[in-house]
C-alpha cells in the first residue's frame, strides 16, 4: 500500500484530519486514565480483610455507663450465645469496614515523637476472638491465657500483641518481628506473632500501603472492651441469626440502645463501605463506553463525507484498474494514519492528565502498559468505524468516472 498519495490527500484536508486526530488523542488520554482509575478502585474493593467474612457479623450496643459494662457484657454474651445456630460470640473493639475504635501513632522508641512507625489500628479482643475471626498465624505464637490484660485506655498499658504481615514488613523490614518492641507514648507493646492479613476498620482512608496496619491486642473484657460483639454462624444461617440477635437485644438488655447501622454482617459492612467505589467504577465505565461511541461517530461522519466527496476520484481509480480491495485498503490505511497520529499525541496527553491527577489525588503513576492497550483499542475502534464508509467507497462502480455528477 502506498502511503504517500494518502498523505498528500490528507494535506488537502488538514482541518478535518486534525479534528479527528485531536478527538482520538483526547479519547486515548481519557481512556488510559479512566481504565487506570477503574483498576485502582477495583483493587480497593478487593482489599483482603483476613477474616472469615461470610460467617461473621458484628452487633453493637451503647448507651450504658462504664460501671454497667461488666453486667451488660455478661448479659449480652449469655443472651446471644443462647440463640439457635449461633456458633460463637466474643467481644471485640472493631471489625474491618465497621466504625474505627482505636487508632494511634506508634514508634520504635520510648519517646513517641522519634523513630515513628505510623498510625495503626488497635483491635482489642478477648480470649477466643482470634479463632472466631479466622485469622491466619504465619509466624510466632497464638495468644495464651495470661497474655490478656485489662484495658482502661484505648489499649492495655503493657501487652504482647500480634501484628499483620504488612505492618511487620513496614516497621521492621528484613527482620523477624517476633520479640520487637514498640511504644505509643507510655503504652508499651511486644510482638509475639504475625498474622497473614488483617484489615483495619477503614482501609481505604489510609491508602493501599497502610490498609492493613493493624495490631491484634489480647485484652480482658470490661473497661474499653464492651458493647461490640462478634457473632459467628454458618454462612447460610448468618442473616437469620443476626436478625434474631438484633431483635433479642431489647429483651436481653432493655436499657441499652442497639446501634442499627453498625450491627451488620461483615459482608454487608464491606458492601456499604465500598459503595462509592462501585458507583465510581460504574460511572467510569459509562464514560469510557459513551466516549468511544462518540469518537466512533465522529470518524464515521467524516469518513462518509470524504467518501461522498471523492466518488468521482474513486470511480477514476477503479476505471484505471484499482480493485475494490485497493479502495477499501486506501480508506483503512488513511484512518490508520490519522488514528496513529492521534494516539501519539494521546499518549503525551495521557501522561499529562495522569500527572495532573497525581497532584490532586493520591494516585500512583500510570503504568506504561496501559498505553499500548489504549492504542490497540483505538486502532480497532477506528478500523471498525471506518469499515462502513470504506465498504461504500469500494462499492462505487467505475462508471461513475464517466458521469459528471
Amino acid at each position: 500500500m502506498q502511503i504517500r498519495p494518502i498523505l498528500a490527500a490528507l494535506r488537502r484536508h488538514r482541518l478535518a484530519t486534525l479534528l479527528i486526530a485531536m478527538e482520538v488523542a483526547l479519547a486515548c488520554a481519557v481512556l488510559c486514565n479512566a481504565c487506570f482509575l477503574v483498576a485502582q478502585r477495583w483493587k480497593l474493593i478487593q482489599t483482603q480483610s483476613g477474616v472469615d467474612e461470610n460467617s461473621l457479623a458484628v452487633l453493637t450496643v451503647n448507651g450504658f455507663e462504664p460501671t454497667q459494662a461488666a453486667d451488660v457484657n455478661a448479659r449480652m454474651l449469655a443472651g446471644l450465645r443462647a440463640i439457635p445456630g449461633m456458633q460463637a460470640v466474643t467481644l471485640i473493639s472493631q471489625v474491618p469496614f465497621g466504625p474505627q475504635a482505636g487508632a494511634a501513632g506508634i514508634s520504635r522508641d520510648a519517646d513517641s515523637f522519634k523513630n515513628t512507625i505510623g498510625i495503626v489500628d488497635f483491635v482489642l479482643a478477648e480470649p477466643g476472638t482470634f479463632q472466631v475471626l479466622g485469622l491466619k498465624l504465619v509466624e510466632g505464637r497464638m495468644p495464651q491465657a495470661d497474655d490478656y490484660r485489662p484495658a482502661t485506655n484505648f489499649a492495655p498499658m503493657d501487652a504482647q500483641v500480634l501484628v499483620s504481615r504488612a505492618l511487620a514488613e513496614h516497621a521492621w523490614p528484613g527482620e523477624s518481628p517476633i520479640g520487637k518492641e514498640f511504644w505509643c507514648d507510655k503504652l508499651h507493646f511486644r510482638v509475639m506473632g504475625v498474622v497473614d492479613h488483617f484489615a483495619r476498620a477503614h482501609p481505604r482512608e489510609w491508602g493501599a500501603q497502610a490498609a492493613e496496619w493493624t495490631v491484634f491486642t489480647p485484652t480482658l473484657p470490661g473497661g474499653s472492651l464492651a458493647g461490640t460483639y462478634l457473632l459467628r454462624a454458618s454462612p447460610a444461617d448468618l442473616p437469620r441469626v443476626l436478625r434474631t440477635a438484633r431483635d433479642a437485644v431489647a429483651k436481653i438488655a432493655p436499657d441499652v440502645v442497639l446501634d442499627q447501622e453498625n450491627s451488620q454482617t461483615i459482608t454487608d459492612l464491606r458492601t456499604d463501605y465500598f459503595k462509592s467505589d462501585r458507583i465510581m467504577i460504574d460511572l467510569l465505565i459509562g464514560v469510557i463506553v459513551t466516549m468511544l461511541g462518540v469518537t466512533a461517530l465522529g470518524i464515521v461522519g467524516l469518513a462518509s463525507f470524504w467518501v461522498q466527496q471523492r466518488r468521482r476520484q474513486i470511480g477514476v481509480r477503479r476505471a484505471l484498474g484499482a480493485t475494490r480491495g485497493d479502495i477499501l485498503r486506501y480508506f483503512q490505511t488513511e484512518n490508520f494514519l490519522i488514528v496513529t497520529g492521534g494516539i501519539l499525541l494521546g499518549m503525551l496527553l495521557a501522561f499529562a492528565l495522569n500527572l495532573a491527577l497525581m497532584t490532586h489525588y493520591e494516585l500512583p503513576r500510570l503504568p506504561l502498559y496501559y498505553l499500548p492497550i489504549g492504542a490497540l483499542v483505538l486502532w480497532g475502534l477506528g478500523q471498525l468505524a471506518v469499515l462502513g464508509p470504506a465498504l461504500r467507497a469500494a462499492a462505487v462502480p467505475p462508471v461513475v468516472a464517466t458521469r459528471s455528477v
Binding site: A16, L19, I20, P66, N153, C184, V257, G301, Q309, S404
Partner: protein, 433 residues
C-alpha cells in the same frame, strides 16, 4: 434574513435526520455529563451562611507540645484550656464554644425507647451568631451558661419524632441521667456544608440536641471524644486536662478592624503560652480564618466529585471536537450549493451567518436535551447513597449556565466550519457541477 436562514437550517437538518440526531445527541450527552457534575461541584462549594460568612471567624492555635516535625498546620480544634481562655476573654462581638458528643436521650412522658443522638455543647451566642431559626421558644441566655442551667434546644426532626411536631417548650427530656427543660425548638435547619463542626461529615445533618457547654460537660461527662491527642490521656474519657484537641471556638467580628485586632489578640495569646512553655509553636500556627477560607482549607468538595468534574470536562471537549468535525462535513458537503449562492451574489458574511444559524439550532436542540439529561443525571445523583444527595437540584444559576454553555459550545463548534464554508471558491464548485 434571520427567519430565512432559520428556515434553511431546519430544511438542511431535516434532510439528513440521522446525522442531525447524532450531532444533537453528542452535544446533549456532553452537556448533560458536564453540567451534572459541575452542578454538584457548584452546590457543594456553596456558602453555608450567605451574608454572614465574612464576619464569622474560626481561630486556631497549636497546643501540640512537643510538636512533631511533620506538624505543619494547627489542628482544626483546640484543647479545652486554650478554647475556654479565649472564650472567657470575650474580645469578639460574639463568641461560641462548640463540641459534640453522642448521648442517650429519652422523653419519659412519651414512653418511647431511648435514642442515641449527637448533642452539640455550645454557648448562648451560637444561635444569634449562626442565625439559627426557631419554630418555638428561643435559645438560652448567657446567664444559663454561667449557672450551668439544665436546659436544651432540640431540632425540628427530634421534636417531630418525640412530640409529633407540637410545641414542646417547657417539657422535659432526659439526657443521659439528667432531666433538662426544653427552651427552644428549631425550624428545619441544615447549613450545607455543616461548617461549624469540623469533626462532622461535610454534608451531614445538624445535631438533634443543643445544650449549654458547661452543663453538658457535667451531664455527659466521660462521653466526649478527642479529635486527636499528642499524649495518651490517663483517662481517655475525661479530656479537660488532657493533651487532646476536642473543642472549637467561633467568633463574630463585625468589621475588618476588629478582625485584625482579634487576630493580634490570638497571636499574643499563643506567644504568651509559648513563653510559659505550654505551647511549642506560637504565632506561626495561629490562624483566624473566615468561613469560606476555613472551608477551602478544609477541602469541602469530595475528591470523587472533583474527579467526576474533570472527567466530564474532558468528555465535553471530545464532544466538542466531534461536533466541529461533523459540522465541517455537513457544511462542506453543500459546497456546490454554497458556490451557487456565492455566484448569485451572496456575500461571505451571508454564508457565514447562515452556517452559524444552523450550528446554533443544533446547539439549542443539544442544550435542551442536555438540560433534560442534566435533570436525569441529578435525579440519579439523588438516588445515590451519598450524604450530599439531597442537594442535587438545579438552581437558576446552573439552569442558565447549562443553556448558555450549550449554545456557546455549538456556536464555537460552528465557527470554524462556517468560516471554512464561507471561503468556498465559487468558480471551482460551479465547474464541478
Amino acid at each position: 434574513m434571520f427567519a430565512y436562514y432559520l428556515d434553511l437550517a431546519l430544511r438542511s437538518l431535516k434532510r439528513n435526520k440521522v446525522l442531525t440526531a447524532l450531532m444533537v445527541l453528542a452535544i446533549a450527552v456532553g452537556i448533560g455529563a458536564s453540567m451534572t457534575t459541575l452542578t454538584v461541584v457548584h452546590l457543594l462549594s456553596g456558602d453555608p451562611i450567605p451574608g454572614k460568612s465574612g464576619v464569622l471567624f474560626f481561630p486556631q492555635v497549636d497546643p501540640e507540645n512537643p510538636a512533631r516535625a511533620d506538624h505543619t498546620e494547627p489542628y482544626p480544634a483546640m484543647d479545652y484550656r486554650s478554647a475556654t481562655d479565649l472564650w472567657n476573654a470575650h474580645r469578639a462581638d460574639r463568641q461560641a464554644l462548640v463540641t459534640s458528643s453522642p448521648v442517650k436521650v429519652r422523653a419519659p412522658e412519651t414512653g418511647r425507647p431511648p435514642l442515641i443522638l449527637s448533642m452539640l455543647s455550645t454557648t448562648a451566642d451560637f444561635f444569634p451568631m449562626f442565625e439559627v431559626p426557631f419554630q418555638y421558644g428561643s435559645g438560652w441566655s448567657a446567664q444559663d451558661d454561667a449557672s450551668h442551667a439544665r436546659v436544651a434546644v432540640i431540632s425540628a426532626d427530634l421534636n417531630a419524632k418525640l412530640f409529633g411536631g407540637a410545641n414542646s417548650v417547657g417539657r422535659s427530656l432526659r439526657v443521659r441521667d439528667t432531666d433538662v427543660r426544653i427552651v427552644g425548638v428549631l425550624k428545619p435547619w441544615r447549613p450545607t456544608p455543616l461548617f461549624y463542626d469540623p469533626w462532622s461529615q461535610n454534608f451531614s445533618k445538624t445535631e438533634d440536641v443543643f445544650a449549654p457547654f458547661a452543663s453538658s460537660m457535667e451531664i455527659n461527662e466521660g462521653n466526649f471524644q478527642a479529635y486527636t491527642c499528642w499524649h495518651v490521656p490517663d483517662d481517655t474519657h475525661h479530656l479537660q486536662n488532657s493533651d487532646c484537641v476536642w473543642v472549637w471556638l467561633w467568633v463574630e467580628l463585625d468589621s475588618p478592624a476588629k478582625a485584625n485586632s482579634y487576630a493580634r489578640f490570638v497571636t499574643d495569646y499563643a506567644e504568651q503560652q509559648k513563653a510559659m512553655g505550654r505551647f511549642a509553636i506560637g504565632k506561626e500556627h495561629v490562624r483566624v480564618r473566615d468561613v469560606m477560607t476555613m472551608l477551602t482549607a478544609r477541602g469541602m468538595v469530595p475528591d470523587d466529585v472533583r474527579l467526576q468534574a474533570w472527567l466530564a470536562s474532558a468528555f465535553l471537549a471530545i464532544c466538542l471536537f466531534n461536533a466541529v468535525g461533523l459540522l465541517l462535513a455537513k457544511f462542506l458537503r453543500r459546497s456546490g450549493e454554497i458556490g451557487v449562492r456565492r455566484a448569485l451574489g451572496a456575500s461571505r458574511r451571508a454564508i457565514f451567518s447562515q452556517c452559524l444559524v444552523e450550528a446554533g439550532v443544533i446547539g439549542l436542540l443539544g442544550g435542551f436535551f442536555g438540560w433534560l439529561l442534566t435533570l436525569t443525571g441529578l435525579w440519579l445523583v439523588r438516588q445515590q447513597p451519598v450524604d450530599y444527595a439531597h442537594l442535587a437540584h438545579v438552581d437558576t444559576v446552573m439552569f442558565l449556565t447549562t443553556f448558555v454553555t450549550a449554545v456557546a459550545t455549538s456556536l464555537l463548534a460552528g465557527l470554524i466550519p462556517a468560516l471554512r464554508a464561507s471561503r468556498v471558491v465559487p468558480a471551482w464548485q460551479l465547474k464541478a457541477l
